[in-house]
């Protein structure tokens, strides 16, 4: 199977997200890094791309140059990853989709709901893949959970409870540190802080596992460090379209939680719990029965979980390989085997709608509001 050509925009030296994408794209041998515009400083980006093995003529100074350079090539990149600052996702994603490239966009896909709707329409029109990197949803045991829900293993889902909380922004003496401060500054982060940063991973996960969509929500936001304009702690109650009750807590001041992303799903005939810090187990309890530990790699898992696991039972696979699973799904899709679990532009749009709705609800004292993007009402 020939390797696919891959191009990356952003994710330069020193970025957190760059290495995760490169490892994700390379680990399973599906992609070759063929082109890149990796840094907002053109020379730095060109040099870094070449140090990673990109040919000099495909080591670009910026994304417009890359678009111009790649669109005419016979061996043009099959996939473009957009890992630039949030405010630029929309225009880059739009431009590459319209030029006929498949795109994997970092979250958030856009800043506004209107932009999100536009991306959805462009992706539909062009028929190109527009994936959004909700990578937690690509852990094998998350896919197992979703498959169990779809198979009816826990009956109708009554309740989903999810948290994504950490304490890494809990030090007030560090709050003016620019790497922290921008997240709570509307000029840089937009309308929401912690909910837009981490909460939407949790909200996507709830929809993803329950195989349903958020319909309405009520939010309570707090800035527990008073110098912050945007929220560093949020609680969102929601309802999915089939009536499932949802509860989502997200915080960046939960000192002692490193990366507490977990989800509990409770149905008529069973419940389960998954946590990102021990991602290789799914804790399952049938109604009236004993709690059981479902292990990645055990016999009898659903195909959706099996195909995204590489090593034997009890050999943990972690976060970078969850990102790699997104790239596996995309590679399969490019090669013609559509992968149902791959998060798409529609998910990216729904997240933005939820963020804007939560902001409005919190301002309105927790009033319940329709959280669906207009085009999906």
């Amino acid at each position: 199977m020939a390797k696919l050509n891959w191009g990356m925009i952003g994710g330069g030296q020193g970025s957190q997200i760059g290495p995760a994408h490169r490892l994700g794209a390379l680990a399973d041998g599906h992609f070759t890094l063929a082109a890149g515009a990796l840094d907002h400083r053109p020379d730095v980006g060109r040099a870094y791309a070449q140090s990673l093995g990109v040919a000099p003529d495909r080591a670009y100074g910026d994304w417009t140059e890359m678009l111009a350079g790649e669109r005419g090539r016979a061996d043009r990149v099959d996939l473009v990853t957009v890992a630039t600052p949030n405010a630029t996702h929309f225009e880059i994603t739009k431009a590459f989709l319209e030029a006929g490239f498949h795109v994997l966009c970092e979250k958030p896909m856009t800043v506004t709901v209107e932009e999100g709707e536009e991306i959805v329409r462009i992706a539909e029109k062009t028929g190109k893949i527009c994936a959004v990197n909700y990578c937690y949803s690509a852990y094998p045991m998350v896919r197992q959970a979703r498959a169990m829900v779809r198979a009816g293993d826990i009956g109708r889902v009554r309740l989903v409870v999810t948290n994504f909380s950490h304490g890494h922004h809990g030090d007030a003496t560090d709050a003016e540190n620019p790497r922290v401060r921008w997240r709570y500054d509307p000029a840089m982060a937009g309308v929401s802080g912690q909910f837009a940063d981490c909460g939407i991973h949790a909200l996507h996960m709830a929809s993803f596992i329950c195989d349903d969509e958020v319909e309405k929500l009520s939010a309570d936001f707090a800035s527990t460090i008073s110098s912050r304009v945007l929220e560093d702690d949020a609680m969102v109650n929601f309802r999915l379209s089939r009536g499932t009750v949802g509860r989502l807590w997200t915080s960046s001041v939960a000192i002692g939680r490193q990366h507490g992303f977990d989800i509990q799903v409770f149905g008529e005939t069973g419940g389960f719990r998954w946590a990102s810090e021990q991602p290789n187990q799914l804790i399952y309890t049938p109604v009236g029965g004993r709690t059981q530990i479902i292990e990645k790699g055990e016999a009898g898992l659903y195909e959706e979980a099996k195909r995204l696991s590489r090593v034997a039972i009890a050999h943990p696979e972690g976060f970078p390989l969850a990102v790699a699973n997104i790239y596996c799904d995309i590679a399969d899709a490019i090669r013609g085997e559509a992968r149902d679990g791959l998060p798409t532009a529609a998910s990216g749009l729904r997240s933005m709608a939820a963020v804007h709705t939560a902001v409005a609800s919190a301002k309105a004292g927790g009033a319940w509001m329709d959280a669906r993007p207009p085009m999906f009402r």
Copy 2:
């Protein structure tokens, strides 16, 4: 030190709560079971009391008989425990307080806020102890947590997050079982189901550890099993008087959770977590530092934790001894050494105000409402 005389109302054969109170009162040798009106069937109650060693003339048929019999005795009981059905707590507690007895009342202390205020006034007027059995607050490591907050070990408390969720009412096929059904029937349970049953333990705990009181709240209630009138799942956002943000989730349909009562407290300079299923550890993280495990029995605990622990480090003490700690506090208080941590009528009243406020807020679409009882505004 002479033993104190103890009398019990309710808690007859087959009840869950009776054995916990007897063990709690007897374990440390502070009390002798001297009188009792243990069953709503007078003869059964008298016989059972005698089987537990109560003298025949103090084995009463009902609480009015016990009140009449005890009030005139020189060796009258020092303490009366009220463990009868919820609707009767008010009148029994009132009657015994007014007759000059110390009382330990099971929660909920009353059905209405007005009754709660009356009990508070009577307790003040008579100078008698009126304790409410929020027994989880008497675990040594909960007392340690409170002492740490009071000593400023985690700075100002920004956020408290607590859950009390189980799945034991999650089987719809069992929902008509009378032992389950009454909790969701307004005729028997009053205005609230799961929040009044379990949630108020969590709300009390949040106030208790933070050493502060609930000021306002916003609630979202759900009956995930549709035949239920009262809620089986609830989320309550709240604020304490000094601005601490609170989040409380309680559920009885969380299949797989046996008794998930945990609390996380996050302050300016640290955070901690305690869980009732592993009650002998307090997980603590100083800001910028590593997570540490504080063990019951380790050197250097606060006196409040030390005095309520009986055996060496890593020898677990469980729920019945938390109840016993309530009895230790009462025995000390009767003997003249007031115990600051003992939950009082004021706590019982605040809980009832919070329940009624949460019900009203949930009905009003989550509107924020003042949760304080009128007499404390």
Copy 3:
């Protein structure tokens, strides 16, 4: 049911074991503390006994006085607990058994194997109960484990692996502290240090759950703190009489382990694990199936587990109530209902034989040796 009269020897003010026995005897209302010789200083002991409610004429100065005082009384104590220094267990236990009292002896029951055999013979001859306080075996979930083995739920037991390790003697700068030092001094502790102190709990547990007896063993002892004559770390390999392979590690220098007493049992058709720091769960895995959590209090437990649990599922019961379970078993046995799980003089004897055999094996470079007491060969 009338209370039984209980007498205690040793366990005076400030002792660790005294409060555990008092709580154990009193918690369930089976016993009244009727007599005591609680301290090696007669006056101190008499005063302390009276402070605990013992009548002045039954607050004795020493055990001989107590034996003389009690043997002639109509209301003499039904049970004597021996909680004195190890070297005195034999003579006190012997004297009270011969005088027709039931005895609960702290471990080790004796210092030598010969003494152990004598106690076994006396107990047989007199027909009195001689129990030894292997209290860990009285946790409900340990009884469940044993019942499962006996019912064949895991098939023939192939392998048992147990650890009892802590780090509380791991500080060399504290090694000369008298409270620590005596355990490693042959003049005070006898032939063995850590193995005799903690290891035999684990060895008893292995036999107890497997319902079988140790036949032979091979030991490796180490004094990791070089000033110690006796071992502070030991590994013992053993075989039970039906061929089960055994592995036992015990240490007092395992810094970071608070009280790591756990046991894993592996049979033909399943395995399980129990740990004293989370004693209310038994982790069970059927061969080829998923790991399951068996909870104290869940439906369908064996009667042996059910009858020793007091409060509902997920309400933890801890160490003091395991001791109380020993007292429940004794109370039942005194009242005529023999309890199969109660550890007897035979267990006390086997432990001493194992200690002496392990010492000899370690000296002989790990040679395998018969570990049975002569009278049981």
Copy 4:
């Protein structure tokens, strides 16, 4: 940085180890798969290599063909991975080393001690890297543990206790399954079953973290499933050269353990514990202090841990990336930066000496024997 050329022998389609090596070599972009002899069926191997992107002329039918083909090329492979059946490791490794290639050999490096000594001598003579895939030692937190020991953070190491136990061969009805049976058949597996398969990972880890070597040992082997000639359960007591006491248990019949590889190290001033199922944490306790959780990615880790971690704190990295860390170390070494932690031929030799010594000791009733290879005595 130009990519290095990599060649693989064995690890064909359907093998477990092949994908782990490919992911390990490719994930970080250090290597390109340039050549391969992947299957014992020449045609199958050639086709599979080409499907993975190997040029037709470098897709070889067997290792001799590959040696002949590569040795003369200017762009010959920089590294050869040997992942063939155990009995062939020696001759292939020897041949490639002698031809001037760097080699990464799967464990066990050889079958006999003599062969092991020969490889050590050849590696020394040629100056080529001969690494052995003790990949667990390349987890960041294992490197952290080793660095802490070397820095003296826990003082002199008194005791190391390690287990590598699973239950995947615990089903007697599956024992004749060829994929299981060969491991216990001396004709195929050599002198040892479970100890050679898993135990030596644990023994290597003990030496690795303690930065010391095994000097002598005493073993107890058991075949708990009686049809097995070789052991399926083993306990090995050992001493390191500086006096550290060692305890190692390994089992393949521990039903319920998925992959229980853990290690505890106890020194004069602290102890720690690491477990392969939660590899991103190191649990550390300073003497007299509280247990702390050291997280991969936290500030202040030793450089040895830091450089082998790719994503932020609390984003787990798993087994395949531990293998990748071995490849990172090799790539660095090839490029001239020797990596101290990389397991070498000397480690492979010491493991074989320990296996043969343990077999002999077990046969001799646990007699203590020198476990060092003759050339290192």
